[in-house]
Amino acid sequence: MRLYHEHGPTLLVYASLFVADRSIAEDLLHQVFAKLLEGATSIPDVPAAYLYRAVRNAALNARRNGFRETALDAANSCFVHRGGDTEAALALQVALAELPDDQREAVVMRIWSGMTLEEVAAATGVSLNTVASRYRYALQKLREKLKPLRKTEEL
């Protein structure tokens, strides 16, 4: 349960980038943790890496099985903006969903899981340079996509 509290919100974001419907994303998340509790899988040394992989696989399976696509709206948003900018929260979710999987994974782990790039590299099994590169590309793309919403920000 500690893992759920610690990683649940970020994993929900991650799952929501594959399946727009928030309730389906939550179901996927619960499936992953239920399997973990059943003892079908032992908790690895780097739980975050396992959890990200498991959520990703579950989400891809759900997509393959033809779940019903849902329009992204505030109810399905996986982000809350501190300033209450709902539009920006939805735009961020869309922008993240449009990133290639490896770039999305890097940025979600880094920003919302608070992992260092070294930890992301260890979790994803690639070199630090590769992760740094993926992360940099991801930030560039997100910055471009969110530019119209950051009128007051210096880009």
Binding site: M1, Y4, G8, P9, T10, L11, L12, V13, A25, E26, L29, H30, F33, A34, L37, E38, G39, S77, C78, F79, V80, H81, R82, G83, A88, A89, L92, V107, I111, W112, R136, L139, L142, R143, L146, R150, E153, E154, L155
Partner: protein, 120 residues
């Protein structure tokens, strides 16, 4: 990583991940091995009880309950017998002896149940 990246990172951190609904795992069921063991134990207990009943049944030992049509003078229940014990202990003994001849297998006569069984 330049200053712009850090600024943009900070902007991204303004977005907080929503908490998922509470995770309420189903009550964990026992692992398959334990369930199989429990089922096997139940079967063994049931078999044991059945075997015990068969082995200890009166029919197997040739014992049969003796029933009688003759009425018992004092009903064999605790209240009248207790009264009798208090008022007339000698009569209580007599009543119990008489009752035992009718309720329990008689072993004194030539054709008593126990004698017949013993011969068999």
């Amino acid at each position: 990583m330049d200053g712009n990246d850090e600024q943009f990172e900070n902007y991204l951190r303004e977005f907080e991940a929503r908490r998922p609904r509470a995770f309420q795992p189903m009550r964990q069921s026992a692992p398959d091995g334990w369930r199989r063991l429990a089922a096997a134990a139940s079967v063994m207990v049931a078999l044991g009880m059945s075997l015990s009943l068969v082995l200890h049944s009166p029919r197997r030992h040739g014992l049969q309950t003796v029933t009688t049509a003759q009425p018992i003078r004092v009903p064999l229940s605790i209240v009248p017998l207790t009264k009798l014990a208090a008022t007339d202990p000698a009569r209580l003994d007599a009543e119990l002896t008489a009752a035992s001849r009718q309720v329990l297998p008689d072993f004194r006569g030539e054709k008593s149940t126990l004698r017949v069984l013993a011969k068999e």
